[in-house]
């Protein structure tokens, strides 16, 4: 909790797993839509579970006729309903804790490019996520959450403040969950391009690393980083490394990947000019 007290604007550009990321706090609209998706998913899940429970209940009542009037029957019914409520509540909380701890974002947050990160850049822990989740009861009263988000720099809700986390927004991630409509042949072409391959030419690599460091890290860029193709490419890189928990994407691997990609494009262009 001590981390929440040291909120200085200076440490906004932190280094997360080698990628220098200026994590922006998430806009309120996106958070609202993301929570709509999450509650929608949970609602649909509850709908199915409750209907299944009712079906089972009706079946049991029909099978054991007369049990409804007896004392044991009433005790059984009350315990069944209590169990159902406890079950639904635990599904509700486990959904958020599981996705925010394991993946860093719930399905709803993923669609809008949001993720839960810690203020000091340390890894997410289970206890932080549980604290964050417990304060959901305060935050679902809406006013505490809205006031708290408006008052803090990083747009944290009460639970975020207590756990020392905030919700970050990444345009790249949102673009990654978006869609580019293309034909199957084009898709195959792009898919082939973004497959990482072993690097052959070491001199080219050294030149490129210098060049890439200027472009990607120091921001001296001729690339249009808002180009959907570039964004999807970066997303591919992130996904490729994020799949495996042991391999974290550090700066060098990212540069190597981009280098290889540009090299392949260059090679292709030269071959086309020849032939």
């Amino acid at each position: 909790m001590s981390t929440a007290l040291h909120q200085t604007p200076e440490n906004q550009g932190e280094i997360y797993h080698g990628f220098q990321a200026n994590l922006k706090p998430a806009p309120l609209v996106k958070r609202f839509l993301a929570s709509c998706v999450d509650y929608g998913i949970l609602g649909a899940l509850f709908y199915v579970l409750v209907i299944a429970a009712i079906a089972v209940g009706v079946f049991v009542l029909a099978a054991l006729s007369g049990i409804k009037e007896s004392l044991i029957g009433q005790i059984l019914m009350i315990t069944a309903i209590a169990l159902l409520v406890v079950g639904l509540l635990s599904v509700y909380h486990i959904y958020f804790i599981y996705f925010e701890y394991k993946k860093g974002r719930t399905p709803g947050k993923k669609l809008f490019g949001l993720s839960v990160v810690t203020v000091d850049g340390s890894p997410r822990t289970k206890s932080k996520m549980v604290i964050r989740e417990l304060f959901r009861y305060v935050d679902t009263l809406v006013f505490p959450a809205v006031i708290c988000i408006a008052m803090t720099d990083r747009k944290q809700r009460v639970g975020d403040l207590m756990a020392g986390t905030f919700v970050a927004y990444s345009q790249t991630q949102e673009a990654g969950s978006n869609f580019i409509y293309i034909k199957q042949a084009d898709y195959n072409y792009i898919f082939e391009l973004v497959q990482p391959k072993p690097v052959i030419d070491s001199k080219f690599m050294d030149d490129f690393l210098l060049y890439a460091s200027q472009r990607f890290l120091r921001g001296i860029s001729e690339f249009d980083m808002k180009d959907p193709y570039m964004l999807s490419l970066e997303q591919q890189v992130r996904e490729y490394f994020e799949n495996d928990n042991h391999k974290r994407l550090d700066g060098r691997s990212a540069l190597l990947f981009f280098a290889e990609h540009c090299y392949q494009l260059d090679l292709k262009k030269r071959l086309e000019e020849k032939g």
């Binding site: 509650y39 929608g40 709908y47 978006n178 869609f179 409509y181 042949a185 690339f223 193709y229 494009l265």
Partner: protein
């Protein structure tokens, strides 16, 4: 740059102009499809209800359950068949709409169609229909059920 030329190449290659399907057009299509599905299920439910009322008047809940399951079965085959073979249901065909999987660009399979129509639309409807309304304001016109099950509704514009 090479990358810019690659993305240009893609946009040039697609001959038929496909743009994301508009909100009111899709609204109408859903309306038409609803009528078609109702034409199949409602008479069956009515006949079943009348029959059961004569034979076993206590089994009203059973009729309800059977009707709902029948509705799910009809939805499964109706949307599954039309989405997988034609890429659009009759209601969408009338309005020049198509539904594809946005990850592969292919038509939906039976399972994908069912998940989109039943669970996806439930998810969109539950938070006060916000899941649907969002589609009107997005560039890619995706509702929650499109985002979650990775589908895209396209509108064909002939050049």
């Amino acid at each position: 740059m090479e990358i810019a030329s690659a993305s240009e190449k893609i946009s040039v290659q697609s001959a038929d102009r496909l743009v994301p399907g508009g909100f009111w057009r899709r609204f109408l299509a859903v309306f038409l499809d609803g009528i078609i599905v109702a034409v199949v299920t409602v008479p069956v439910a009515m006949i079943l209800g009348i029959l059961v009322a004569f034979v076993a008047p206590d089994a009203a809940l059973l009729v309800e359950a059977i009707t709902r399951i029948l509705n799910l079965v009809v939805v499964y085959f109706y949307y599954g068949h039309f989405y997988s073979t034609k890429g659009a249901t009759p209601g969408k065909m009338v309005l020049n709409l198509r539904v594809i999987n946005s990850e592969t660009g292919k038509n939906l399979t039976y399972g994908e169609a069912f998940m989109r129509e039943v669970f996806g639309k439930l998810i969109s409807a539950l938070p006060l229909l916000i899941g649907y309304i969002v589609a009107a304001f997005r560039d890619d016109k995706k509702a929650f059920h499109d985002m979650i099950f990775k589908t895209q509704v396209l509108q064909q514009e002939k050049n």
